[in-house]
C-alpha cells in the first residue's frame, strides 16, 4: 500500500497573519500546519498496520522547508514537494490539481488531508482531489479503529457514521479523536536523512486558469470598547443588572 499525506506549510500562527490582496504573505520559513498532524497520524497508523510507504506531499513557495521536516519527524518515509513562486495565491482548484499530480507521482492508493487548513480554511481541497483522481472521498474523519480491518468514523451534520477503509480513497481528517505523536530526538535526527524530492511546476502536467479576481481587503477590527470589572464578590450583580437592562431577563 502506498499513502500520500498532505503537509501544508503556513506562517507561524504565533504571529499575526498578514495579507496582501487577499493572500497570506508567506515568509521564507514556514511551519507545519497543526491541522495536518492529525492526517499524518492516521497515515502512520496505516503504515504500522499494512507496512505502507508514506510520502509527504506539499505545494509551497521556495523556502527553508521547515514544515516538511516537522512532518517527516513524525515518521513518514519521504517527501515530494512542489516549490514554485508562480503558485503563490493559487486558488483551491489549482492547489488540488497540483496535489493530485503529486499523489499520482507517488502512485498513492490512499491520499490523506486535514479537513481545513489553518490559514486558508476553505475545506474543499480534499474533496476536489478525490474527484480529480476519481476515487471515493471519506471526508471529516474523526477517528480510526484498527483491528482485523480498518474502520473510519466520520462526522456528519447530524452525528457520525462508520466506514470500512476501501482499497483506494481520499480521506480528510478533523482534529479530534486521534492524538498526533510527538517526535523524540532520534526521530528528529532520522528525519534529516529522509529523501526530500523538490520539483517545480514544469515537472508536472498542469494547466488551469485562475477564474477569480481579488479586490480590496478590509480589516474589520472586531475589538470592542466593552466594560471590564474585577470581581470583588459582587460581579454577579453587574451581570444580572446588565441582563435586565438588555431585556434578556
Amino acid at each position: 500500500m502506498k499513502i500520500a499525506v498532505c503537509a501544508k506549510q503556513i506562517p507561524d500562527p504565533a504571529n499575526p497573519i498578514e495579507y496582501s490582496n487577499g493572500n497570506v504573505i508567506r515568509p521564507e520559513e514556514q511551519v507545519l500546519d497543526d491541522t495536518d498532524r492529525y492526517g499524518i497520524e492516521v497515515a502512520l497508523l496505516l503504515k504500522e498496520k499494512y507496512d505502507a510507504e508514506v510520502t509527504v506531499i506539499s505545494m509551497t513557495k521556495i523556502g527553508t522547508q521547515k514544515g516538511i521536516q516537522q512532518a517527516l519527524q513524525m515518521g513518514p518515509d519521504k517527501a515530494l514537494v512542489l516549490e514554485d513562486e508562480t503558485l503563490i495565491g493559487a486558488n483551491s482548484l489549482m492547489t488540488s490539481n497540483v496535489l493530485s499530480e503529486l499523489a499520482k507521482n507517488v502512485e498513492a492508493d490512499i491520499v490523506i488531508f486535514g479537513t481545513e487548513s489553518t490559514d486558508g480554511y476553505a475545506g474543499v481541497v480534499p474533496q476536489q482531489v478525490s474527484r480529480i483522481l476519481n476515487i471515493p472521498c471519506i471526508s471529516y474523519v474523526k477517528n480510526i479503529e484498527i483491528d482485523n480491518d480498518v474502520t473510519l468514523t466520520r462526522q456528519t451534520i447530524e452525528g457520525s457514521e462508520k466506514i470500512k477503509l476501501p482499497e483506494k480513497c481520499v480521506i480528510s481528517v478533523t482534529a479530534s479523536g486521534v492524538e498526533p505523536r510527538y517526535p523524540n530526538f532520534k526521530d528528529i535526527m532520522a528525519a534529516k536523512n529522509k529523501e526530500v524530492n523538490i520539483i517545480s511546476i514544469n515537472d508536472i502536467d498542469f494547466n488551469i486558469d485562475q477564474n477569480m479576481e481579488f479586490n480590496e481587503l478590509n480589516d474589520i477590527s472586531s475589538s470592542k470598547d466593552g466594560e471590564k470589572i474585577t470581581d470583588e464578590g459582587e460581579a454577579y450583580q453587574v451581570i444580572l443588572d446588565k441582563l435586565k437592562e438588555i431585556k434578556a431577563l
Binding site: 483551491s92 482548484l93 474543499v124 476536489q128 476515487i135 451534520i157 457520525s160 466506514i163 488551469i208 474589520i220
Partner: protein, 307 residues
C-alpha cells in the same frame, strides 16, 4: 441569473443554514431552485414558491459522488449560473466535486454577496473573521459556500410540494454503518437567544453542572470550546468555533474561555458578549461587552443563586 441552492437535512427538516440562504435569495429576487441532498425519509421540505428536488440515497450509503452527478444534469439542463450552499458537511463535498467538473474554484467562507448586472461580488471572511475581502466572480458558472448565520432567516412556508429522486449507487458509493444521530435535548445552540459556553477555565468536567444549572435558569443553550470537547467533557455537537458551530444569540456568556481566533469566529457576532476569565489579558475581553475578571467557580454559583 439562474440560481441553485444545495440544501441539507437535519433532523428530517431543511437545515437552518439552507433556510438562511433561501431567505437571502428571496430578498435578492433571484430565479432559483433548490436541490436537497440526504438519506432520510422526509416530508415538508417543499414549497409553492420554489421547486425542491430531493436527491435521496439509501440510508446505509455515502453516495455524494453520484448526487453531484445528478446535480450536474440539472445544472446543464436549466443553465444555472450560480450554485450556493452552506459551508457545512454535505455542501462542501458537493460543491467541491462540482467545482472540479466545471473547472471553477469555489469561494469559501462567504458572509455576504451582491449581484449587480450579472456580476457577482462576494465578501469573504478570513483570518478568523478579523479581515474580509471582496472577490469578483468571472466564470460562466460560480460556486459559493456560505458561512452559517450570515443571513437572517425569514419565514419560509414549507409543504409537501417536492419531487424525490432515488439516487443510484456505483463503485464510488461506500457502505456506512453504526449511523449515530446525536440526541438533541434542551434549547438548540443555533436557535437559542442565550448561549452559555464553557472552556478549560471551568477547571474540571464535574463543574459543568454549574453551566447546566445556569443554562436551565436562563433557558439557554450550552456550548463549549474545542479544548473541552477534545477532553471529552462535552459532545462535539456543542462545539462553537471554526470547526464547530457558528452562533449569533442575543447574549453569549463565555465562562473560562481564552478567546482563540478559532473560537471567536463562531461567536463574535453575538449581540451582547459577557466573558468571565481570571486572566485580565485574555483575548476574549477584546470582543466582550462586559468582561468580568474573576473566577468562574465563584461568580457562576452566585449568579445561579440570585436568579
Amino acid at each position: 441569473m439562474k440560481t441553485l441552492v444545495i440544501g441539507e437535512i437535519v433532523n428530517d427538516e431543511l437545515s437552518s443554514g439552507t433556510l438562511e440562504i433561501i431567505s437571502k435569495i428571496k430578498v435578492l429576487n433571484l430565479d432559483f431552485s433548490v436541490i436537497t441532498v440526504g438519506n432520510a425519509d422526509v416530508t415538508n421540505i417543499g414549497s409553492d414558491s420554489f421547486s425542491n428536488l430531493y436527491l435521496k440515497s439509501s440510508s446505509n450509503k455515502l453516495n455524494l459522488f453520484n448526487c453531484a452527478n445528478e446535480i450536474k444534469k440539472f445544472i446543464n439542463e436549466k443553465e444555472i449560473g450560480l450554485v450556493l450552499s452552506n459551508s457545512s458537511y454535505i455542501g462542501r463535498d458537493i460543491i467541491a466535486f462540482l467545482s472540479v467538473d466545471y473547472k471553477t474554484s469555489p469561494v469559501s467562507n462567504v458572509i455576504n454577496f451582491e449581484i449587480d448586472n450579472n456580476e457577482i461580488k462576494t465578501i469573504n471572511s478570513i483570518n478568523g473573521g478579523e479581515s474580509e475581502y471582496i472577490t469578483k466572480l468571472t466564470s460562466d458558472i460560480n460556486f459559493i459556500l456560505i458561512r452559517p448565520k450570515s443571513f437572517d432567516q425569514t419565514e419560509v412556508t414549507l409543504n409537501d410540494n417536492f419531487e424525490t429522486i432515488d439516487v443510484a449507487e456505483n463503485e464510488y458509493s461506500l457502505d456506512v454503518f453504526d449511523v449515530h444521530i446525536e440526541e438533541k435535548t434542551g434549547p438548540q445552540l443555533e436557535d437559542s437567544k442565550i448561549v452559555i459556553s464553557a472552556g478549560r477555565g471551568m477547571v474540571e468536567a464535574s463543574n459543568l453542572k454549574l453551566i447546566e444549572d445556569l443554562a436551565s435558569k436562563l433557558n439557554a443553550a450550552i456550548g463549549g470550546t474545542r479544548a473541552i470537547v477534545d477532553a471529552g467533557w462535552m459532545p462535539y455537537s456543542n462545539q462553537v468555533g471554526q470547526t464547530g458551530k457558528t452562533v449569533k444569540p442575543d447574549v453569549y456568556i463565555a465562562c473560562g474561555i481564552s478567546g482563540a481566533t478559532q473560537h471567536q469566529v463562531g461567536m463574535k457576532d453575538s449581540k451582547y458578549i459577557i466573558a468571565i476569565n481570571k486572566d485580565e489579558e485574555a483575548p476574549i475581553f477584546q470582543i466582550s461587552d462586559l468582561g468580568i475578571v474573576g473566577d468562574t467557580l465563584s461568580v457562576i454559583p452566585k449568579l445561579i443563586e440570585n436568579l
